[in-house]
Amino acid sequence: MTLEAYIETGFPLPKALMDEFTAQYPNVTFNVREDQFAVITQNAPRVLADDPPDLMRLPQVSELAEDGLLLNLDGYAEAFGWDQWPATQLEQMRVDDEGRRGSGPLYAMGLNSSMTGVFYNKQQAAQIGMTEAPATLEEFDSYLQAAKDAGLVPIAQFNGGATGGLAFPLQNLMTSYGEATPINDWIFQKDGATIDTDTNLQAAQHLEKWIDAGYFAEDINSMDYSMMMSRFIGGQSTFIFDGDWESGNLDTQMAGNVGFFLMPSATEGGPQAAMSAPLTYGISASAANPDCAAFFLDWAATNEEARTIGVEIGGSRPMGPADAFMPEVDPDTVTAQTLAAGATIGEDNGAMDFIANATGSIYAKSWTPNLQKMVAGELAAEDLLPAVQADYESEIG
């Protein structure tokens, strides 16, 4: 049997899993097509309709599910016992009949679940007197100032082109001041949800304070993601806001010199939250081999070999039951730190989707231009959230 797979270029995890799967089940092979994520996003509806893959890396699922392009996985969830896993793992991939996420039938599965936070350069952290992760936002502020005073670039965060990376620190600041649940409600398009809340305003103002204080590199409005990575790896940025999909890469490129912490709360001991999203794969509604594809997705979450690959190559926590097998990881690596952070987030119930995923174009057409304006001083923090809320309402309207 040959499964048609459509995956994202640049990430070795799916291929590694497929190779291992074929090794364990030699009667199944994969015919793989690869594209950049932006290309997958643009073509998803047409590919799912005209050239249905058995397994496909998916962008935001709500519109695809609403259009009937994705297979409802509820039957498999029951058969394989996915419904016994922690419910938050699958929440983002449930879509109700009006296209709202968070509840309803399951339309996708994750190959693993990523986690975001702050990566830092250990040498530079030692230089500015940071010996352990900051416990409060205020403490983090003081380290940013110390880095600035030491002549380092505190944060080189990508924010150029159509990818406004300041959404990472902004959403992290939102959870320093407030809770994750209302943010998730907004992302899932729950009735009456708004991003324009008091605590989110405090977050926007805090971000503005960072901009005005010069904590970000001067040219972030023309910096793309790969420039950010090469600067951080090259020691030209003390901190970056990013996700654990880079853990494996950073452990190789900056071995022993990279650390990770979750965004601290504004109050000491306060709950912590993080953007955390499954690496979503779905099955086309008209796929030829849906049963085998679903079995593969279950296998990736439950097989010990597969989970080891998920951690070692993917760098992130695999899906599956809370007490499932976990491979040994060298405690000195940043991979170990990001995996540990995943547990903290689980305890604090702080997992949330990314504010960029609320609608199909809210990132490119609203967060990005508005955050770029904020960097250039053309938009005040007070005007950011109302502007985004207006775009949000006009799109889901």
Partner: protein, 279 residues
């Protein structure tokens, strides 16, 4: 007639039919997959109501300065200079060098220029070397300079084309005209304005038409260098159509904007054609 048929068939399938479909889609609310609903002129109203869409059209007109006026002016100057030593090896070398940008794929040009214009790029290195370090910035990431910086890339690409077209036009001007003018005591400037410029009326018309269309319908250079950022300051209609169709999945609105853009280009270009036609 039989010779025209194959070309006409291709033209009608790949050009006329596409235009007709675009016009048809523009009257529907359609996400590209599920059933479409007829909405009349609603998509057109949206095009004119949204500030962002209107802003992209203003940006496109600003680009005309860089894509059209600068390359045509510089092209004239360069062609007039090269004409003086038209037969020498030097003329061929300069023609080749100046035309080179035209044969480089636009995507490559966009990538090359985004390196040149980056914070540590060659442009800023040169400024620092001559003591103008205070002027350095991320040219493509600054609200004030992003659109002009994109314009410079376009000017660099289109300059060679204009120069070559104008130079070709100059070679068909009767040399005796210049001789007569010189006998009448005309200097090089007088020669240029009284003989060269009027004789090139048609060629200038072609240059301006081609470059104005390049400005209004620009996509590649902007997509590669800024993707419309920062903060929509380099957003152009071509890019907006792409975002609408492939990210917002509003095929109807995208088609309506495409039709408006086509009409806009015709509205600008047709009068220009009339103006430059030989009397």
């Amino acid at each position: 007639m039989a010779l025209v048929l194959p070309a006409a068939a291709f033209y009608s399938v790949f050009v006329l039919k596409s235009i007709a479909s675009t016009i048809q889609y523009s009257f529907y609310d359609w996400n590209g997959v599920t059933a479409a609903t007829f909405v009349g002129f609603d998509n057109y109203l949206e095009v004119f109501r949204e500030d962002e869409l209107a802003g992209s059209i203003v940006n496109a007109f600003e680009l005309i300065l860089f894509f059209s006026i600068i390359p045509v002016t510089l092209g004239l100057a360069a062609a007039a200079t090269i004409r003086k030593f038209a037969t020498s090896r030097m003329a061929m070398a300069s023609r080749t060098v100046l035309f080179l940008p035209q044969i480089i794929p636009l995507v490559a040009a966009g990538i090359m220029w985004s390196w040149l214009l980056s914070t540590d790029g060659l442009v800023n290195q040169l400024l620092r070397a001559v003591g103008l370090g205070s002027l350095t910035r991320a040219w493509l990431g600054d609200f004030d300079t992003a659109l002009p910086a994109v314009g410079v890339i376009g000017a660099w690409v289109l300059f060679g084309l204009c120069m070559l077209l104008l130079l070709a036009g100059m070679t068909k001007i009767d040399p005796s005209l210049y001789e007569a003018a010189r006998i009448d005591g005309a200097g090089p400037f007088r020669e240029f304005f009284s003989i060269t410029l009027p004789s090139l009326r048609q060629e200038i018309g072609v240059c301006v038409t081609v470059t104005v269309i390049a400005a209004l319908a620009s996509f590649d250079i902007v997509y590669i260098s800024t993707q419309g950022g920062p903060g929509n300051s380099t957003l152009v209609p071509g890019l907006e159509i792409y975002y609408l169709a492939f990210f917002q999945r509003e095929i109807g609105t995208a088609s309506a904007l495409a039709v408006v853009l086509m009409l806009l280009v015709l509205a600008v270009v047709l009068p220009m054609q009339r103006l430059t036609r030989e009397r």
